[in-house]
Amino acid sequence: MLQKLFKFKGGIKPAHHKAESQGAPIAIAPLPGRLVIPLSQSAGEAAQPVVAVGDRVLKGQFIGRAEGWLSSAVHASTSGTVVAVEPRLMPHPSGLATLSVVIEPDGEDRWLPLQAPDYKNMSPKAVLQYLQDAGVVGMGGAGFPSHAKMQNSTVLEDLVINGAECEPYITCDDRLMRERAGEIVAGSRVIRDLLQVKRVLIGIEDNKPEAIAAMREAVEAMGETTFSVVVVPTLYPAGGIKQLIRVLTGKEIPVDKRSTDLGIQCFNVATALSVWRALNLGEPVVNRIVTLTGNVEQAGNWEVLIGTPMNELLALARPKADTDGIIMGGPMMGISVPAFDVPVIKASNCLIARSPALFPPPPPEMPCIRCGACARVCPQELQPFELYWWSRARQFDKAQAYNLASCIECGCCAYVCPANIPLVQYFRFSKGEIRAAAKEQKMADSAKARFEFKQFRAEREKAEKAEKLARAAAAQAAKLAAERDTPPGGESDTAVYAADAKQAVIAAAVERARLQRAETDSRDA
């Protein structure tokens, strides 16, 4: 099928550095000495531990239960003994520790007896529940719980399967597509049926011809006519969700909308594979493919147990002596891990050994000369130098007016900046400040609302009480008056008179109360 392609503006073409690792077939990484499995590996709430120190666990056994809908389960990656349930460092830019289950492997790597679900006869809701329990999350790097993206709430047209892998160095999806194309396509088919979409578009950058061929073959073998493998030009960040959707469908997702609002849902190829393994084999996510590359002797791709310490894993690639850090993810958007021994998590697609020679420290920042190179490469068509100007001046409202929120932090602007300005860092700073201010504002607003309601209630109660007292007093006065004015004999006339007086006093009291309340209201307003 001939697919019309669209273009996105901007983008850069950094050196691929994929050759180092893309030739090596996926190998199985040996069991590490210890596994540290963080319970917070996906967006949303952290999983709750269901094991205790000393417990024996089997591979694939639940160790963390999903907390709420936007959360995902966590499993033991191998069989062994739980030796600790405690906060440990994880690969996150915050450098904060998070509750983790530490397992000492028994060396047997024994699976829990797996039972494939009869997913074809299950309700969609039950399938999603199953995927949540299997710990299926986005494997492309974002780690968003996948089941939460499969709720068929709106009518969707297209399913985009992301095999673009546009970041330099990373080749795990490339190898996965070459070697396990059938499972990826099968997983995509399951997602297609769950979402009831009309088309499945598998986008792959044209620098991966073997992967393209393998995926095409798999699609043909399955006889899927709704599928098309679309070759997209290699241009970073073509694998960014907004850019890939633009290239494949011509649609542009605004900052305040989701892709599903425009009828599109998107999954990474490795996620599709996880979906398939969970439903077809009953296998939860306990491993993933990780590219080891950068400052190493032997780059390659490995199937790695979740929780494997990165230093132990990186040793397989024989890092060179001057390695001074690890980048998780690609060199454009990845993070520097806070320690060498942080564990591999579900979102760890690539580990790049850092060295001062390979990634030299940025040269000193120079003044912006407004050359506009950043604006020409911005895939979101922003004016990064304007955002920089306002961020630097801490004029965050201006930065927002220049659409800071639309920035996807792809790093193209900083890559081309001749003045070496760390633009993305400025934007992250501004976004953080704006978020903090918004949070503070929200807290202040709700505190004000609470206070005002409390005051209103107090005033209302006071007014009601006054009204009640006035009524009672009036009734009392009227009664007294009636008793005093009633001469013996002429009962009927005086009774009428007394009733009138009582009415008048009550009316006066009610009026007083009303005025008092009106005064209170106007003070509130």
């Binding site: 649609k251 001074d324 850092r354 068509e381 004016q383 409202d397 639309s406």
Partner: protein
Amino acid sequence: MPIAPPISSPYLHAETSVRRIMNQVMLALLPGIVVYTALIGLALIVQVLLACCFALIFEGLFQKLRGRSLASLQDGSALVTACLIALTFPPLSPWWLTVLGVFFAIVVAKQLYGGLGQNPFNPAMIAFAVCIVAFPALMSQWPAQGLHLPFSQQMEVIFGFSPRIDALTAATPLDAIKTALKMDSFTGSIQDLLKSQSLYGTFAGRGWEWVTTAYLVGGLFLIFRRVITWQTPVAFLGSMTVISLICWLIDPARFSDPLFHLFSGGAMLGAFFIATDPVSGCTTPAGKLIFGGGAGLLAYLIRVFGGFPDGIAFSILIMNICAPLIDVYTQPAIFAMQQGGKKKERDHA
């Protein structure tokens, strides 16, 4: 090895720097300098070197006074400014006039505003404007056509060992036109006038036409190398072509043809090297069109109807004033905002 302090992404950087950009600009000026030197003599090279030396001295001195790093001397921006001053001032200007121009450009127009990236006006054009207002006679002394003074004599003129001789200088083609148009008694045609004074070459001022052609070549190189974008020069030359064409069609005897205007005076230098200054110019694509178009139009009007023989400096300075406002009103729509015809309201304050 201990883990290095985490830095955040991106970890890659393209092979680019401010210095590289400035070097390319100077490389693009080279053809113009070579042809100009062939026309005038080595005096031009002396002026370029003089301007460059003092630009670095002033830049260094004021960076130091402002407590900033001297590393900025390496960015090349002062050298580009110096070259532009040397190319826009008369080549036999006294040395102190060149130095004064450099002082105004580097110190007043640039350093006092905060250095590189902070100047609202193009420094070289500030230098030109200040000097032509303060020293109109000296700034109008262009070497007479076909005058080839020996180098030693040129040095004597520049460094003031011999009295300045008016006979050395003569009107440029633009001067001649301006003078003629001002005279009520002028009845002939511009073309005849220029030809009679043997000021006219093949398609513009004799000799000068090749210098400006060399600037054009350098400018195209800058566009090709993506140092500058096409919008500003195309709009500049386009608007100048249109307005000169209109005037020329109305009265060919009084107004020169568009080709003459494009290849005379500072049009080419202004369009490709000065109006494209990113710091003082517009940054948005539409803004660049307005900026270039406005500069080209104003340059023609000043050149033909104003009080100065050429209008490049003033037209660009006027557009510099407008640039920030133009930028605010020409912000391009961002990704996903063209669709549905809904553009977000932008804060214009």
